[in-house]
Amino acid sequence: MNPELGQLALILALLLAALQCALPIIGAWRGSKPLMATAPTLAIGQLVFIALAYGILTWAFWTNDFSVAYVAQNSNLSLPWFYKLSAVWGAHEGSLLLWMLILNVWSVAIVVFGGKLPEAFFSRVIGVLGFVSFGFLLYMITTSNPFLRLMPAPPNGADLNPVLQDPGLVFHPPLLYMGYVGFSVAFAFAIASLLGGELKSTWVRWSRPWTNAAWAFLTVGIVAGSAWAYYELGWGGWWFWDPVENASFMPWLIGAALIHAQAITDKRDGLRAWTLLLSIFAFAFSLLGTFLVRSGLLTSVHAFAFAPARGVFILVYLAVVVGGSLLLYALRAPKVTGGKSFALASRETMMLVGNLMLTVACAMVMLGTLYPLVGEALNIGRISVGPPYFGPLFLILMTPLVLALPFGPLSHWGKADLKVWRNALIRIVALAVAAGIAGFIVGARTWYELLGVAAATWVIAGVALFAIKRWREAPRGKRYPFEMLGMMLAHFGVGVFIAGAILTRSMSVEQDVSMKPGASVHVGAYDFRFNGVAETPGPNYTAQQGTVVITRNGKPVVTLHPQKRTYVGGQVQTEAAIQAGVFRDLYVSLGDPIGPSTGSGQDVGAWSLRVYDKPFVRWIWGGGVCMMLGGFVVILDKRFRLKRAVEPETVRPTPEPEAPRKLAEGEA
């Protein structure tokens, strides 16, 4: 298929996006039903053209059409077929196209599932999504066109960056984008209700499943990236407070706050202005995250200046979206928030504490991430901000949140039963102390480890106590609705994560060694014997493959084969070999040859290797996966089915200015 057709499809999608932004919003403003009725058609039409463009680019990869510059840069004749498909989002232009595809899929999902929303509200939501889409398409077409031709076409491509030739990276970007883009739904709902002046809390209930889905996708996207860095980059680390990571972590933090704020607004009608603001910021940070990385700003201010068109466009777009939203918010947000009143000791207060800490943590991360860039731009000197800044501050900020966490669920809305709190506190403290003592007996010696074990127990015990309380008190069959089950899963995940993060950090043993074939090294409780390196062919690389036999007290545990691959393009990539386990990972990665490979002498066949004993590292991602599952389980709850939201209820005292869409066939 012709890449120019893809170009054309993008331009048509841009036109449709402009219409999708303008017509439904004007329709809702003027009360024109024909104009509002264009919204579904325009959204579906835009998806068709974006999907077409995406399909054409994929086809170009599939057929090795190296006359397309983007394909020539990111593919190769010998690239395995599945990486050809994932190479579509392997670099800047294509990943923007993927972003667009996902945004349009979400828009059409709203068309499909949001059919029962009030028509004007629905039109505004689709219109706002059209605006977001328009900006991105314009950016793509003017500065980052994936269909640019390269003439004459090279006989072979340069190959996909080998770092990306990994199953983890096949899934990581789409998942992350599902999260980023998913926050656009809450954003669109918020802007739509600000535009409509319709500040009732019903829109919040409608947007809650979308927010949960977005946050769950973002969670698993971050987990996938973290796990990938662990085994692919060969550092054995799982989080580096790198600006690129921080870019995805900021919307995650705000998203976590938003999920809880939405719950308060939905259930208690309170905090509406705050929920609106968080909806705007969750998406703003998603945009910031996408663009910080895309603009090259993170690489350096100089790199930003090197390609000014992209950078300037991004800045303007961010300013328009965020500035416009905040202006609208300032003009329209409710001055006095209503909502049911609550006592100081209540679930609301606990959630407020959590919200405060999460948003301040996000601000802290943003400060640390942007400070060096701003410093460099203003010429006040170059500053490095890294793990010793982020780590301790994050720990401090999360401490109140972790302490409060068990008591949110254990409270009632409105007011907590202090007797319940006291009993729970006694049990939780007892369990946490017991866990600390158990840890000490098992061999934990540092304060860090002991407090980590206690904190993880604190959280998990809170979840367990809540589960027991519900089992005893709630009527059979209504004990654990999906919304609650999701909460419990996610909170449990927090506990598992704490245990993993802290224990891995303090218990890991890491050693760089140089070994001759036959040499052994003792790490942790294990002996690693190096049996030399042999050459092994791969589809588009040749690998130097090492053999490392691991034994414990003389008993064989596992044989690992770390690789060092040289790809066809000449790039070198290491593949760590990992024996994964629930309680520990054994990790070997191959460095460089030190001595000559043949001949005689002291160093013949010697290589440098990194060996790791990493206890509990899987718990980090296990916790993340629990959080993700929690997010998805919440969506299953029947409360969120739109049918209920349209039923008349106490939270909407004023009559709807426009008749709910499809009410006739839906409810009659």
Binding site: V163, L233, A247, Y371, P388, S589
Partner: protein, 199 residues
Amino acid sequence: MKRLLAWLEPLSPRERGRGEGTDSRLASSSRVTEPSPAPAGHPLPEGEGKSRLHHIKHVLAAALLAFALTLSASAFAIDPLPFQSNAERVRFQHLTRELRCMVCQDESLLASNADFARQLRRQIFDMMQEGKSDREIKDWLVARYSTFILYDPPLASSTIALWFGTPAILLAGGIVVVILLRRRTRPAHAIAEEPGDDW
């Protein structure tokens, strides 16, 4: 999870740094038990002005190379040094993790595979053998390469907002929450019990 999203650029300075490292493994032959002499030419000339010039050159070169489609190795540093004890190794890892590789995009001295990092790691190792404390080593590095090498920038006029920003935001947010709670909360006895399942 480094460079998770940075894969858009075919060649980032960080990758380039690593690429350089692969060519330079001779310098790091770790079987050398006697401390190797400090490298004659320092990777960065002393003094902030020159190092900045160097940095700009480096970034420009990297940006230009980005168009050359040559990807280089993204190997990380595996750099066996002859530590005398595990405690010493842990101390070294901890120290170099908090230092920046000056020629990389955003990589610690521990992880970086660039020549610069390899040589500096060895120098730090040597200083540890001489019995220097972490503080002395850091001071030496700062004198030589400016505070840019520290991942926790010391408090100075240019970093006041960095270090006090978070407490200030926390304080402001805390005040807002306290005001909100004072305005919105009622005494517990004034809040009616609600019938039904409290969820």
